[in-house]
């Protein structure tokens, strides 16, 4: 039996793209330069499949597929702007915006994805995460729990990149959030302050203490939160 091929070729938005065997549809889209909205994806981590914003059309599939967790097969034909996929992406981002007590700061990945998808203020009037003062007990890393969208990137950064396992998801369902150690804050947990979590967080739920003031200053300059 011959060895399996090292690469596969797929078509992304009409253009052929060669990718390593085992690459995902999202890898192929990125290699082709096509934008696929993502919120829970970080190239430094294994794909997670939580946000469901990356649904794309794949010829022959009954419904749009999540690009980040679907492996490429040779000959696949991919449409990154599949209408149903984009509807879901739009709806997901709108739902995410609806759970935050205020719009995300302009520099955050969430704000930029929302802008690119054309998602405005969410139309859902329901419950949001309760605002709370930022947890700044650590000299560098701050928690703003109400901004957490449970994308899991911080937990996975601490797990798959740094290997310290200082963070965890907590709770269940809508009340899901994140915590360090036994919910004791960064300082008293196993955290080694590498900052990988802050680097990955798309909403500033984890950010640098010294940048907290900058964000509110920038918002003020831009005429206040939208």
């Amino acid at each position: 039996m011959s060895a399996p091929p090292l690469t596969v070729t797929v078509t992304v938005d009409g253009a052929p793209v060669e990718v390593p065997a085992g690459a995902t549809v999202l890898d192929a889209a990125r290699a082709a330069g096509s934008w696929v909205p993502t919120l829970c994806f970080d190239e430094r981590q294994a794909p997670f499949g939580a946000c469901r914003a990356c649904l794309v059309g794949v010829e022959g599939a009954a419904a749009p597929l999540p690009a980040c967790t679907t492996p490429c097969r040779d000959g696949m034909v991919i449409d990154t702007e599949d209408p149903a996929g984009r509807r879901v992406a739009h709806a997901v981002v709108e739902l995410v915006l609806s759970e935050l007590p205020q719009p995300p700061a302009a520099h955050t990945e969430l704000a930029q994805v929302a802008q690119r998808l054309g998602v405005g203020a969410p139309r859902w009037p329901g419950e949001t995460h309760a605002p709370a003062p930022a947890d700044t007990r650590h000299p560098y890393l701050a928690f703003q729990h109400e901004l957490c969208i449970s994308c899991g990137r911080c937990v996975r950064a601490c797990d798959e990149v740094q290997g310290t396992f200082a963070l965890t998801a907590t709770g269940r369902g809508f009340d899901a959030n994140i915590a360090a150690g036994l919910d004791e804050g960064f300082r008293d947990s196993a955290c080694v302050a590498c900052g990988a979590c802050a680097d990955s967080c798309p909403t500033d739920a984890i950010t640098e203490v010294s940048l907290l003031a900058l964000t509110s200053a920038a918002d003020a300059t831009n005429g206040g939160p939208a």
Partner: protein, 697 residues
């Protein structure tokens, strides 16, 4: 992704440790507001540690040196001076001393934290402007044994592969290093590899964090690493893991080495090193059975009386199994400083020019004479320990030190201080006042890594660009500029407008660097040797070694006892090292938020020893060695073996290095920081609290 919070972002290379993370420095209002890791950093791949990421506020602390300072009389106060006056004072003093006592009465110390171009400029200044080979750098006190060993055994003074080799290895031996604290990004990488199935064997008197992820941990008595390596070699040979074809085709000296091995059966090694024979056998088998395996080490190997010999024995183990020169099989010494590899590559060493070519080599010396237009000394200069001895003896009269706090970090602090006080003239080029500046006659305000351009060479031999994000504060200048000014004042013009020009000169004069230029380095850097067409070398020795005949050399070196040993008066062995939150002397990290995370050096002591000595966790204790005494708090922990204690040297008030004596590596003078016999006892008559009774008493 745009970010309106920052005015600009500069990609540079971290100035802390030898991993060489590529960083994005985000600037706002002329300060570094934030740093994030570069996703395409070859060594760090989008990750970094708390030092590179967060510990940058030191750059704008108010106690930064911002003007030149002059001390008119020894023991007197410092006063502000202009650059003109400072340079004039330096030129006249150094000129006077040279005229009266000869150029060899002056010595220089290049900073292993500074760029390649800074160090190259410094060694050119010492050699061309002053006329001496008395130039050294701090690799002397950390990895000089590694450099010695790699050159003797394999040919080139550098890791034989890259960090990526940890990803490709089936097994790794990690000896005398604690990378999750000292090289955090590499520590994380090794940890991830173990979780994917890479078999790690850790060898360290302390149970380091990675021991919990490895398949085996050996805790040998400090100073017995040679016995361990010889024992591993014995088992490899005995159990058929020797690669005869490799030995025959690519090495010499095997027979002499093989003759030593019968004396190092596991039972014999167990007696020397206090490591169970079965564990030693297993360690050898893990390494021998792996298709590809790496050996990685740190100062726990080098900072010993026979550190250079242990490093050669490490090479022997790799050579006898042929596990070298291909992906996943590499020797990876973890260089400590961000540019300790580079400062030595640049010839800031008393016996070599760039790329470790001897100052006595006529052809090489001529090439530099031609380039610099001055005659150069063929006499090897003093190493750092020799400089201190010479100062005390009155033979060394002046020193020009930049970017190293010898009074805090070098061993035998009392001796170092005595040396400083004995000099007639001391110039110190620094970013903050420190223990060493207390003895300086002229202090020049210099730049941090965030304020300069140039290159650093990391532990993978990777030369990477450094770019300034902000300007040095006040009247401080970049080290590159300062050295040029001093050299001009001494009468030797350095002909480079920018560090890139200096690198061009290095490339012309150094065959292994021929293809390196700033333009070529781009975002990924290049691993030397770099051919003229720019082809670099991620893996060394794929086909031949860089020694005569292309063969590697087996070193036949028996075990010898370390320079110090526990006895009745000093019953415990002290190992000194580092913690995650601080960087060496702590000059930078103590001036950042890291101080909130760790605010003192503590002495780690095993519960059995603590109980026997009536010491409770947190008690202030005294530690006394044959040469000195310090006081600090105790931390009782079972991560260390009974009989050993551990501390760091991050806080100057602790003065840890008062305890370190003169014992040093026999070949390179690297101090034996890792084996110091000490006595530990609580301060005062009464213990602070009644401790738990030790079991069995």
């Amino acid at each position: 992704m745009s970010d309106e919070r920052f005015a600009s972002t500069v990609t540079t290379t971290c100035g802390y440790c030898g991993v060489g993370c590529r960083l994005e420095a985000h600037v706002r209002d002329d300060r570094v507001a934030s740093i994030s890791p570069a996703l395409d950093g070859p060594a760090n791949e989008g990750h970094t540690c708390l030092k590179g990421r967060f510990a940058h506020q030191f750059s704008r602390r108010r106690d930064r040196l911002a003007t030149p300072l002059i001390r008119d009389a020894r023991g007197g106060e410092l006063r502000r001076a202009s650059w003109e006056e400072a340079l004039e004072r330096i030129a006249s003093e150094l000129g006077r001393i040279r005229a009266a006592h000869g150029p060899d009465a002056i010595a220089g110390l290049a900073s292993s934290r500074a760029t390649n171009e800074d160090c190259y400029a410094m060694q050119r200044l010492m050699r061309a402007a002053i006329g001496t080979n008395n130039i050294d750098n701090c690799s002397r006190v950390c990895h000089s044994p590694t450099s010695y060993a790699l050159r003797r055994s394999l040919g080139l003074s550098g890791a034989t592969g890259s960090f990526a080799d940890f990803d490709h290895a089936d097994a790794t031996i990690l000896i005398g290093a604690n990378p999750t604290e000292g090289h955090p990004v590499v520590g994380a990488r090794i940890k991830q590899a173990t979780l994917r199935g890479m078999k790690l064997v850790t060898i360290d008197p302390r149970r380091i964090e990675l021991a919990d992820y490895g398949v085996l941990h050996l805790a040998p008595r400090p100073g017995t690493n040679a016995a361990i390596m010889l024992g591993i070699a014995h088992v490899l040979e005995r159990d058929g893991f020797v690669n005869r074809a490799f030995i025959d085709e690519r090495t010499d000296g095997w027979d002499a080495f093989a003759e030593l091995l019968p004396a190092y059966a596991p039972e014999a090694v167990a007696r020397i090193a206090a490591v169970p024979a079965a564990d030693l056998e297993r360690a050898a088998h893990v390494y021998g059975e792996a298709a590809d395996a790496c050996i990685s080490w740190g100062l726990g190997v080098t900072e010993h009386k026979y550190g250079s010999e242990v490093a050669q024995l490490i090479c022997d183990v790799a050579l006898m199994t042929g596990k070298i020169g291909r992906p996943g099989s590499a020797l990876l010494p973890l260089r400590g400083q961000n540019n300790v590899q580079g400062s030595s590559d640049m010839g800031a060493l008393p016996d070599t020019y760039t790329a470790y070519r001897s100052v006595t080599d006529e052809a090489v010396a001529r090439s530099f004479e031609d380039a610099w237009g001055v005659p150069l000394s063929r006499r090897e200069g003093w190493t750092i320990p020799q400089m201190f001895d010479a100062a005390v003896a009155g033979e060394l009269r002046a020193m020009y030190i930049f970017g190293e706090d010898v009074a805090q970090t070098d061993p035998n602090t009392a001796h170092v201080v005595h040396a400083m006080e004995s000099l007639d003239f001391l110039v110190v080029q620094e970013i903050f006042e420190n223990e060493t500046t207390k003895y300086a006659d002229v202090i020049l305000p210099a730049s941090s890594f965030l304020e300069k351009g140039g290159t650093f060479t990391n532990a993978e031999r990777r030369v990477q660009l450094v770019a300034p994000a902000i300007d040095p504060p006040g009247e401080a200048r970049t080290d590159f500029e300062i050295i040029a000014l001093v050299s001009r004042a001494l009468g030797h013009e350095l002909p480079w407008a920018t560090p890139a020009d200096a690198m061009d000169e290095i490339a012309v004069l150094t065959p292994d660097w021929a293809g390196i230029s700033h333009a070529r380095l781009g975002r990924r850097g290049l691993q030397w040797p770099v051919a003229p067409d720019g082809t670099d070398a991620p893996i060394l020795y794929e086909r031949e070694f860089s020694r005569p005949g292309g063969r590697a050399h087996f070193a036949a070196l028996p075990y010898k006892a370390p320079g110090d040993a526990a006895d009745e008066q000093f019953p415990l062995i002290l190992v000194t090292g580092r913690r995650l939150q601080h960087y060496n002397a702590g000059t930078m990290t103590r001036r950042t938020g890291n101080v909130e995370l760790m605010d003192a050096d503590v002495l780690e002591i095993h519960p059995d020893d603590a109980a026997r000595l009536w010491i409770s966790n947190g008690d202030r204790i005294s530690v006394r060695s044959r040469v000195g005494r310090i006081e600090l708090p105790a931390q009782v922990t079972d991560h260390i073996e009974p009989g050993h204690v551990f501390t760091t040297f991050h806080f100057p008030e602790t003065r840890t290095n008062l305890l370190i004596g003169a014992s040093a590596d026999v070949n390179t003078s690297c101090p034996e920081y890792k084996v110091v016999a000490v006595d530990v006892r609580p301060l005062g008559e009464e213990p602070a609290r009644t401790p738990a009774l030790a079991s069995g008493t």
